[in-house]
Subunit: 368 residues, 4 copies
């Protein structure tokens, strides 16, 4: 169960950065969902490296193949196996990083835990694993399209290092227009210069990503330990380099009074509840309220930088390391589609879990 | 699986705030661990309400009973059933909150999901459920005492509303000396006045809690979806009112450069790796490094306040609600022992998962 | 997960034969199901010991209490905790069986595994644990009554030692009329004499039980490893003293040709498929076909007999043991309600799992 | 979780009979185990079709590829992905079986459940899926070779239709010498003639297979619902066409008295317990005793026969069907390596689960 997530829509990812292939085994897919490779490829292409100067220059086509679970363009209810071949595994020399532990990477902990590790490109701990998540997210999106057509899942960057968006300028349409998926046209320009400077100096920077789920029904989430926020937190924290996860107000909730944090409830014109604000991020007691579900996470700066860092070798000798190679100055950029994919998987899983226990749709009605 | 957590050391909590009892069914307990009710009561008493004027005046003895799994003072390897009877269920009138949804509470979402809810004291969504977690954590602590004796797990508050600790004054010994478990004697005084003011005005405030695990071996955590940080994030986010979880730098990682965030590695005098800093919070690639494991979470302010709030009734009519009753102005205070308990459960679970797959202790050696 | 079964309707049993209590923690219960203690007690009373001379003379009222998950007579969707107190724990001397391993019992294996065991009445390995299963089965029956009202689950004995039923005399109404739950009035008489003889000589005998589920919809069972027959086999084999499980033809399938084993398919007058026979036991490819689901299992003879048996002590010394005490000459009799309860849990669980993945009811239609 | 088995050593199989490929995603593999494709191929070749006239003439090389989890010839602790390409998917016409339900096959139930099915070669319900199990079993065997070197797992046929082995002639060495894996040289000859006759007449026959695990330590199995016999029963019942599972005496236990069924215990010369007989099949209370673990299962006759059978079409019209094509007259033959593979997976999984909870080896000692 170590490489799987989800209760019913259950995704197991497999594969290393420089092995023959990587992929996802996706179990519990609803039957009859229209699905083909192009539909999944669409989402993978958003994450694909080498698309602009801000992401790694590793050039992988990242072409996904469906090996099972689909017949004549529709899912059959049996496991869908997704495979992405690794084609650009440069035959470079890995002997240095096989001996030295790169600070900030999982080299030292994989070694300590297992007594063996695949040093090529970080092996299993490489961010390349997230391609499998995005592919699985493509299945989740296709299934959501059938089970709950109105749901929209959007991710975007809200901060990169010292630069943050101005929410007064928030523009959904801007997200797809810039390489940072930032919903703020002014920021998009500033960030380009900022990141260019970091890239040229061989430095790197962290990022904050927000994922919003709009149109999800009330009632998703199963207290106490399969709460919707619990599962979102786990999903996001499991992404490489993520160090913090927030729902709604997030860490800032610690600073507020009860008056400031209250989301008052009114009855909307359409006969459903309307909230005066969304400090809760759309989740109360672990269950969705019908408001936008708002999740945020922080990605640490890429640990691979040109400044030499002190480390040790497997033999325990002191050493210095400079990580050359094809790295993203802000790995957080490519975390946007990954966060969206994880949210899609969690929402679908909870829709399925809800109908297992309760049936179709929310059960309690408000008003007549 | 909705009310259970843990892979092998598996805790299922049950019970409502005003039902006859609540408790935890704890499966996967290692055999031969010395355990009695007093050992668990010790931890429960730290969380017990009504101990000072800052926590709810509900007076529950919270006396735990062990109903199974222990024979002649030692665990047998079979499930341990822990039961805490609810004795102070004041026979008050719940008809108002049975009809009106309290803003910020799970009233509306439980209703929407299930079409039925126990309104007495919040039912299953009450913070009272956390007593079962603390009791289960007592078993985890006892087992850790046998399996990995050097591990120490400590929680404390780092922020309450506008007030934060000064890390320059950090003092481990201070934690047990004040009602806030704050590791800063000066803050302890200031906070008392601050909270007293909030309490008298019928307001409430959020809090930030930090839990540190010292002495855990390297190698805990099973990538990719049973990472140690993933499971800690899920454990903490599942606690009532928690809105954010951080490991090490947490959300602040988004602001840093690679140079600022790097934890360089040296060889210590005792032949184990030493890190120059701990931005990582003791976890790299989801696996513990042997450094202190640092986890932080934010608890929102208690939603029950004296200021009237706008809401609706089950019938969809507009209404106003004032939550009287016995409530904590800062529910985050009592979240400290809960966070510790969750950490204890996660660490024990991962020790067991590690020895399942790898065997006793870390496998890779550094040096010689 | 060691003491739990079920995918979504998840039952965890806990407790020892002579501890303060035993019970079941039942998670994933659908909300809104009418449930009270009497409804569960009804099923428990069928299993209760001491009702006639053929079952153990231990006199337990086996009164069940519901501690959570029910509000105003209906389930709330939160875990239901069931507790049965052990009241007739005779303060007898267990020092002999604490030292000597009773042949055929789990004494030696529990000792070897855990290095500690509760010898009082067999501890956790006592058949008394099955009371918790029957109680949980009562919840499953109540939920089935709401989700799929037409389902009927009936168990009965088909063999006791050398005596077998004559299927030509099969009579559903007879089952409730005799202490053996045997659907054959003639056999009921013969068996009484046969068992009386065994009982008086201090011997014991095995039994074969059949459980039939009528009226279950087609489509239950999730290939490949959550097949309906897989889960039934696991459920029945987990019952104390069970050594074999069969679906439909069972072990006899090894003796047949393809022609003999074929269940041909016709279209029934009501527009649903009708099968010419039921060698398959209602399950094809792990999925229910709409035919009766037929499951059979064998219970070994009670190991506690008056004839002295050779054994060893914990110290490895040779010894002889005679098991006195209150034992059933045919423990298989009381396995009938246990088998029914397990079937009820499995069927409900699969109904829920089916609606998670596929939705309400079978999806493919036959005919217009 | 529908296509996965195992608690910690967790196998998920995927793929259809006539899709591009099938395989197994194997999680929880211990690190450092020597493994390459040849080691797995060895076991797959035993199951390979087309090796003699008694098994299907479909000619698949069944060449397995390892796509992840192995580095420089040793497992890394990350998931091992095994893929077997389907190369002999004859482009035959599946339009008839796409419309008509073959009696005894899963055609009708897959249709009813999912409303869609892949008719080519039975899709997911084809016995071809068992290749993935055998491959996964190869990993389990390799890991057992490291963790518990003395364990031997052997399967063989004990019955084919009217023909059964004579246990007086039991010969371990004979198993590998005949196409039936029958441990009785005389039977091997008789069975060849018998099956030849059935094959020529287009008929088929059932089989009984026994799997024995020798040298497993005492203490494997985790009561109550992860009992070793429970998990073996589930594993065997999940194999295609299996209708019954037995441990030790199996269904025959229903016929015995307590005296007949008793396995008395002596102290062996080597200081470990010795049993006078093995009615228990090596498992007491769900935990291994150190004796041989004996598991038996029955496979029904291949449903595809030349005799026309009555059935219906998807439209509900009456029809007749004759299954031509490449089928095994006794599919039970190829179930022998499958049963061995499942046993290997279960034993490894329980070794790992045991060391998670208890540590290395049994805990309780007998003697001194």
């Amino acid at each position: 169960m170590m490489n799987s997530f989800g209760h019913i829509f259950r995704v197991t990812t497999w594969g290393e950065s420089h092995g023959p292939a990587l992929g996802a085994t996706v179990d519990g897919v609803p039957p009859g969902v229209p699905l083909d490779e192009a539909a999944i490829q669409h989402w993978l292409d958003r994450r694909k490296p080498g698309q602009n100067k801000y992401t790694t220059q590793r050039r992988e086509p990242d072409a996904v193949r469906i090996l099972s679970g689909v017949y004549e363009g529709r899912t059959t209810g049996t496991p869908v196996q997704l495979m992405i071949e690794n084609t650009d595994q440069r035959s470079k020399d890995y002997s240095e990083i096989a001996e030295k532990f790169r600070p900030g990477h999982a080299d030292i902990t994989y070694w300590q835990k297992y007594g063996i590790r695949d040093p090529r490109g970080g092996g299993r701990s490489s961010a390349r694993e997230t391609a499998a998540r995005v592919a699985a997210g493509g299945i989740a999106r296709a299934a959501l399209g059938e089970l709950a057509p109105g749901i929209e899942i959007r991710g975007y960057m809200t901060r990169m290092g010292t630069e943050a968006i101005d929410r007064a300028r928030f523009d959904w349409d801007e997200i797809e227009r810039n390489p940072f998926w930032v919903p703020d046209a002014t920021a998009a320009g500033t960030w380009a210069d900022y990141l260019d400077g970091l890239r040229k100096s061989g430095s790197s920077v962290g990022a904050e990503i927000e994922v919003v789920v709009r149109g999800a029904p009330a009632g998703l989430g199963a207290p106490i330990y399969a709460k919707l926020d619990t599962d979102l937190a786990a999903a996001m924290m499991s992404i490489n380099a993520v160090k913090g996860v927030e729902i709604g107000e997030g860490m800032n909730a610690a600073r507020l009074t009860g008056e400031e944090n209250a989301d008052e409830i009114d009855m909307g014109d359409d006969g459903t509840p309307v909230f005066s604000s969304n400090h809760a991020g759309g989740i109360l007691g672990g269950i969705s309220s019908g408001q936008d579900i708002v999740c945020r996470f922080a990605v640490k700066p890429t640990s691979s930088i040109l400044t030499p860092r002190r480390t040790i070798t497997k033999a325990g000798e002191p050493a210095e390391i400079v990580t050359k190679g094809r790295h993203d100055p802000c790995v957080g950029i490519r975390a946007v589609p990954v966060g969206e994919a994880m949210a899609a998987c969690v929402i679908l899983d909870h829709l399925m879990l809800h109908r297992a226990q309760v049936g179709e749709g929310p059960r309690g009605t408000i008003g007549r």
